[in-house]
């Protein structure tokens, strides 16, 4: 993708991504918030494609699609007002939060703009090897080569997290003890 094409995709996509990300926390509906987050991260995948990281962009799109669909289910389950029809306020300390966010953004942006970043090392006409399909091959060699232990470790970590998440979530916790929620809810009604 040429620099002009990259710019033509990047700017609108970046603007749309930031707006949708902001509206994740502006909407009163968690279902809408989940779909907006899916849109924001999906557009980020599009930016990855524009930045010639095709494999990572497609991977991000696939992963976020699955994760956000699951997340929307959790939102609907755990919200008193998942549709946002009652106009509930789900925020606190908005002013201080916004101040902290602006401060962090300003510091990071200043660092990004003020730092003298090294120029790209390219030996094939300015595009490097990215976007030519070779990056997928290189990632494959990297994963199956010297970074194999890192990747294996990540896989085992995901397995432990899955087991830990299930143990945390199951009724009674990992010890199987009764929780207040496991007691019959209609006890009083039965007595009556």
């Amino acid at each position: 993708m040429s620099d002009l094409a990259t710019a033509l995709v990047f700017w609108p996509a970046a603007a749309f991504m930031l707006v949708t990300a902001l509206y994740v926390f502006r909407t009163s509906s968690m279902a809408r918030a989940g779909l907006l987050l899916l849109a924001a991260l999906g557009i980020e995948g599009l930016i990855f494609l524009a930045l010639a990281s095709e494999f990572l962009g497609v991977l991000l799109l696939l992963m976020m699609s699955g994760e956000m669909v699951i997340m929307v289910f959790f939102m609907v389950m755990f919200m008193a007002d998942p549709g946002g029809l009652m106009g509930m306020d789900m925020t606190h300390d908005k002013r201080r939060s916004a101040g902290a966010a602006v401060a962090v953004t300003a510091a990071l942006a200043a660092l990004a703009l003020a730092t003298d970043w090294p120029a790209a090392v390219m030996d094939d006409g300015g595009r490097g090897s990215r976007g030519s399909g070779r990056d997928v091959q290189q990632i494959g060699f990297e994963i199956m080569g010297r970074s194999m232990f890192t990747f294996l470790f990540a896989g085992v970590t995901i397995l432990f997290a899955m087991v830990g998440g299930i143990l945390l979530a199951k009724e009674g916790g990992r010890l199987g003890l009764p929780t207040p929620a496991s007691e019959p809810r209609d006890h009083g009604a039965q007595e009556a």
Partner: protein
């Protein structure tokens, strides 16, 4: 045109939105969404470095894969904690979850 500082600045804006979400939201699931955005911003930074600083370094792509792994782990453990809190306290509102006990 696009350059590395531009990509990093967009990443900083996305990270700031995530920070706002983490600090301002009262529901645990929404906080998890804020963390997802912050991790997404870091991925965008890595993609920028891959494109504009080290286009031939495949090892940089591994950072994105590790961050994606982190996103999955954070969501898994986070949702497990939310369900556990719901079972014990009947709420996922962080303002009501001020004690570890029980």
């Amino acid at each position: 045109m696009i350059s590395l500082p531009v990509v990093l600045t967009v990443g900083a804006l996305l990270f700031g939105i995530g920070v706002y979400g983490v600090l301002s939201q009262t529901n645990a699931v929404m906080v998890i969404m804020g963390v997802e955005l912050m991790l997404g911003a870091s991925m965008l930074n890595v993609a920028g470095f891959l494109r504009y600083a080290q286009p031939q370094a495949a090892s940089g792509s591994l950072f994105v894969l590790v961050i994606m792994t982190l996103m999955a782990l954070e969501a898994t453990v986070g949702f497990g904690l939310v369900i556990s809190a719901w079972r014990h306290r009947k709420t996922a509102e962080l303002d009501d979850l001020t004690e570890l006990k029980g």
